[in-house]
Symmetry: C2
Subunit: 439 residues, 2 copies
């Protein structure tokens, strides 16, 4: 029996132990999914607070049911630690750490690198290692593998196996969770792929195998680049439509009546979240290494970088119609989450607009029923204000930046002096009417 068959046997009889590195919105749901199938999972976290919370059965991720986490911890199938040498206890390791971009849109690979160093130092022979973090194609083969080989003195495909399998977590999606979202799996070599399919097959209902890690890496980038360029296109068309007195929201709804070949995207103050604003720039980064400029991503990035400034202008010129300067005006923003009905302000364009407007001298406040406080990158913090009639009517301008479904739009428009609507919260055909100004 080969060593790959040995690990597959352990997967099949349930005796395998999985280590999951990084217990965030990707790693923790995955850990719970495996543990629910009776597999022992050890979570690795740099944050002692998170590790303790998990080991105590306390949940901190919106997409996990509290009781589910508590049950698998109580059943002894899931625990967490900050003690990375315990990697040697595991037969399989899944890396779910963040891959942010720095200020210059260069990938910050330090979390993956640190994980690979710990793995190389501590893993036992014949460990299977899968990366889930979004990254540029070639990372698994050309970045991970050399680090692990160097640190461990072992050889890939002989002493350990590698795989890339991109996470597809969509926070707040009520239909598609970790277990029922099809998962793309790209093992490096046949043995790695056989192990990967057996392992993920334990927790995930549908697997989609591809021929290599780099193909799997490209899949995730393609999915999010598709979204970036389509949101950018519709933002650009929204700005043009504004000049041409065309309501872009009406146009999009009408285009949706085409029964084939169209998917609707909507404009807004920019792109937020942890995927769409980031992933395409991983590809742009590696493409430069291949002497290749990605002109579509570049154009899309420019449009989105500009949107918050365009939105600041929109507010300024709406105030101008009321013969007010932005400097000294009171502006109330509604919604700072990056999409409706979630509590996540990461990369939210609303915050960029608020910063710009504050920088021009406005008195800025915000209300978000899901986010009590935000801190911007300069360390400035805002607390959500109550959405009283007084708060609305005192503002020189009320701005819809996120279309939370809880907002009572009619009441807000009635009480407000001036409304700038970046999310089609106010259903009107005219794009401006003296009181409501639509993107």
């Amino acid at each position: 029996m080969s060593q790959a068959d040995d690990i597959i046997r352990k997967i099949q009889d349930g005796s395998i132990k999985i280590g999951i590195i990084g217990l965030g919105y990707v790693g923790l749901p995955l850990a719970v999914s495996f543990a629910r199938k009776g597999i022992e999972v050890l979570g690795f976290e740099k944050s002692a607070k998170k590790a303790e919370s998990v080991s105590a059965g306390k949940n901190y991720i919106g997409d996990i049911q509290d009781e589910e986490l508590a049950a698998v911890v109580k059943g002894g199938k899931l625990s967490a630690t900050t003690d990375f040498p315990r990697i040697r206890e595991c037969d399989a390791l899944i890396i779910c750490v963040p891959t942010p971009l720095d200020k210059f849109k260069k990938p910050d690979m330090s979390y993956i690198e640190a994980s690979c160093v710990e793995i190389g130092k501590h893993m036992k022979r014949c460990t299977f290692i899968s990366l889930e973090s979004t990254t540029y194609p070639t990372t698994t083969e050309d970045f991970m593998k050399p680090i692990i080989e160097r640190e461990s003195g072992m050889k890939e495909a002989v002493d350990f196996w590698l795989c890339f399998s991109p996470e597809r977590v969509d926070p707040g999606n009520r239909t598609y969770k970790t277990e029922n979202t099809p998962k793309v799996v790209g093992g490096l070599g046949e043995d790695a792929q056989r192990i990967a399919m057996a392992l993920y097959g334990k927790a995930i209902q549908h697997l989609y195998p591809v021929s290599s890690p780099r193909a799997a890496e490209m899949v995730k980038i393609l999915e999010n680049t598709y979204r970036l360029i389509n949101i950018s296109l519709i933002n650009e068309l929204a700005l043009l439509s504004g000049r041409m007195d065309i309501n872009i929201w009406e146009v999009i709804e009408a285009a949706k009546s085409k029964p084939y070949g169209f998917q609707a995207f909507y404009p807004g103050p920019g792109i937020g979240g942890h995927c769409i604003p980031l992933d395409p720039f991983f590809l742009e980064y590696i493409a430069k290494g291949f002497n290749f400029d990605l002109t579509m991503i570049n154009a899309a990035g420019n449009i989105n970088n500009l949107m918050p400034y365009r939105m600041m202008n929109k507010i300024a010129f709406a105030l101008n119609r009321h013969k007010k300067a932005m400097n000294g005006s009171r502006i109330l923003f509604l919604g700072v989450a990056y999409k409706p009905d979630i509590d996540d302000p990461r990369e939210s364009p609303a915050i960029l607009v608020m910063e710009q407007v504050a920088h021009k001298g406005a008195e800025v406040s915000y209300h978000d029923p899901h986010i009590a406080e935000i801190v911007d990158e300069h360390g400035r913090s805002w607390k959500s204000v109550d959405l009283t009639d007084e708060a609305i009517s005192n503002a020189d301008c009320v701005v819809f930046t996120t279309n939370h479904s809880i907002f009572d739009v009619d009441r807000i428009v009635e009480k407000a002096r001036l409304v700038v609507d970046m999310r089609n919260a106010v259903k009107r055909t005219h794009i401006e009417d003296g009181k409501v100004f639509k993107l």
Copy 2:
């Protein structure tokens, strides 16, 4: 009873007479649809040959059943003429003429203009006029209306009504034809919209009203701009993937396993047909008048302009692997239609590639089971050759430019010396293997 009510009454009791200007792939199916509902239709055509053909009940459009056309002509509901003064017989006029771009991607409005001049000269008072030709937003209000008012001496909304309702014909689509494809309707003013809804409702199952002609004009542009930029993105990613040894076709299929938020587009030698390569540039044209540069469309246009040249390079370097120069090599192209299983070579990128390859000294031939002969813009003509074993094996390189489903790919690959596959005709993971080179 208002004059608008009068025309609506005629629509309802079936006594209205409709004139359709332009009996091409848009106008003729529409004419048949109205005639099938018992409404009298008079087609106007500059081409005597087409007009005679229609009046004789002879069909020349792929998406129409021969018997349907024959039946409505025989029943006296449809006839055609070259005699534009007969416009005065009609209560409603629908313009279905082409709007090409010239060589410099400037809209050629001459067909719409000529139609409007004829209408203005000959129409009777209280005529309803709808434009279906794809064009830039504001055309109906700012281009059509002044011409008709000038030529007729009549006043829009008083003496005649205007509407824009974009055609959505997808040649070869077996599910969605004229009658069951939802139709966007943008009348200018309330009366025009009421008439438009009543009129189109006679022939089309689902109507989608919008608030203005310019919104309707933008809908069509949005639909096709969406397609242009997504095809351009995937072409750009295909070129990068080639350098990175990633099979883009495999990546696209894997991305399709994502159950939400993704729509697949496929790379190829460029974009063809009569809509996608043209429509976005109508918007680019009018945007310049609003001091607006559409950077996404611009980037997308650049990529597509380059694709035929990139494909010529691909063929040249595949030949180079076999130590052959393009100059003097025999190259056989398979498929010159712009999409599979149709007989339309308009704007087909295959022809552009053939021209470039011929220009570099290759001996070019093609086979297309649906297109017997093509003539390029320089007047050079090619005739389709038979796809014999000898024709395949004599070629230094066989190129898949259109993926007609009738092609016996296995046989072609077996007999060929070298294959360049721009359409994923050959299902393989490796993007090159010495014999087959995939885009």
